[in-house]
Symmetry: C2
DNA sequence: TGGTGTTGCATGTGATCACATTACCGCCTA
DNA sequence: TAGGCGGTAATGTGATCACATGCAACACCA
């Protein structure tokens, strides 16, 4: 079976193997399927994807450029384990950028887009009694990016995606310790502010939401670093 | 002559050919050596660098991921020509991020760092009478990033670099039309605010500086788009 | 002469090959 | 028993080869 004869079937979703690998690796990182500190090999990923190492190398190169993968040339590649200090910087950048996107979204969001946001929120609320935090994550993801896309700032959305990508491997640790109730009220406040096109209020709620989640991760990292320092130099 | 025997000489500045190509392409873009809309070929760049296409392909892939190069898979690659709308988005993001970096820098900048900033400013002021705008650009570049580095937020600095990279090819058009006097006073105000560790004031001056420069580029792009629309549909 | 089909070259993409470097593990020696 | 040493397998990197596609000039026909 020649590739040409059935090109009509494959051309729809397939551009290049490199982009395909990039998208799949990105999604794997985003959904927490790799652990922080986990080592990756080009040949291993190539075997997993059923392609040669060439497209994989270019895909991980792009991820490394975004900071989603850490690589020492000629030596190793791994999923970054962020320190408390790095997480603090990430928090400040995310607060600034996601605040900006939310502020702009408040003025531009359409009823259809707002309905989409509310639908995602309903999914999250429905999942809360069961306590299935892992199932919640993709919905939280969709909700946030539905808001950000409403800002009509595609380059900004792409930058925020890169920031989420860096935080994602550690974000699985938010559960189940992180109290969801407080976050739920902040999310509801954001949605109400968006509904009445109150840009300043929407921005403040989103900033608090993002800031709180990252502060929790920072606390975890600080405790871990303190414990490690204690065992190394007692 | 084996590569091994003289590794001591090359290892100093050479990590991988890919990183070398990436750094050189980045610098070429940053200093405006490529024009907006200019087409690039992997084989052409490979010949220019004296290497095989492989490392070039990975370098331009990284640049494409950052938006510094525009590429249609399997077809072409070129230096992006930003529309007025894209420039407006770029302005808003840059104002937010460079404002944040400047605000943080105001609280943390050391006397040595401040002296470095003032040295760059002196170079720019000295170049103004001659009107040598092209020679000014690298100093403006150094001055801004000296400030941003003082924020102690390396990931933020890297993101700002990516934004400058996207704007750089069009930034050569700032000269000689863009009035430098106003910008000079804003820069002086920023430096004074940094010197007295006035974060809010430093942020405002920097935001105005960045915003003004981008507004000028936006005006150019709008005029160009209007002219093009007039010739296409008269 | 204008439009259309064709052919050839240039280009991006991916697989394979070759090489230097690194990491891992067992062994030896002090 | 602990630390240094060497060998081997695995890995990242880069060059080369092979292939399909896109583009442009050219020839051909109405």
């Amino acid at each position: 079976m020649s590739r040409r004869a059935y090109a009509v079937f494959t051309a729809v979703e397939h551009t290049t193997l490199r982009d395909h690998a990039y998208a799949r690796l990105r999604e794997a990182l985003m959904t927490g399927r790799f652990d922080p500190g986990e080592h990756l090999t080009i040949r291993g990923l190539a075997a997993a994807f059923g392609v040669s190492p060439t497209p994989i190398r270019e895909a991980v190169g792009r991820l490394a450029a975004e900071g989603a993968i850490e690589a020492e040339p000629n030596k190793w590649m791994r999923v970054p384990r962020l320190s408390a200090e790095e997480l603090r910087e990430l928090r400040d950048i995310r607060v600034a950028l996601e605040g900006l996107a939310t502020e702009r979204a408040a003025g531009l969001i359409t009823p259809a887009e707002l309905a989409e946001v509310k639908r995602y929120d309903a999914e999250i609320v429905a999942l809360r009694p069961a306590g299935d935090w892992k199932a919640m994550m993709p919905w939280i993801n969709r909700l946030h990016f539905a808001i950000y896309r409403a800002s009509r700032m595609p380059a900004l959305v792409r930058m925020i995606e890169g920031l989420w990508l860096r935080a994602a491997p550690q974000a699985t640790r938010l559960f189940p310790g992180y109290t969801q109730t407080e976050r739920g009220t902040l999310r509801a406040a954001t949605i109400r502010a968006l509904a009445r096109h109150d840009a300043a209020s929407a921005r403040r709620s989103m900033e608090a939401d993002v800031g709180n989640a990252l502060d929790y991760l920072i606390g975890l990292a600080e405790a871990e670093e303190a414990a490690q320092a204690a065992t190394q130099a007692p």
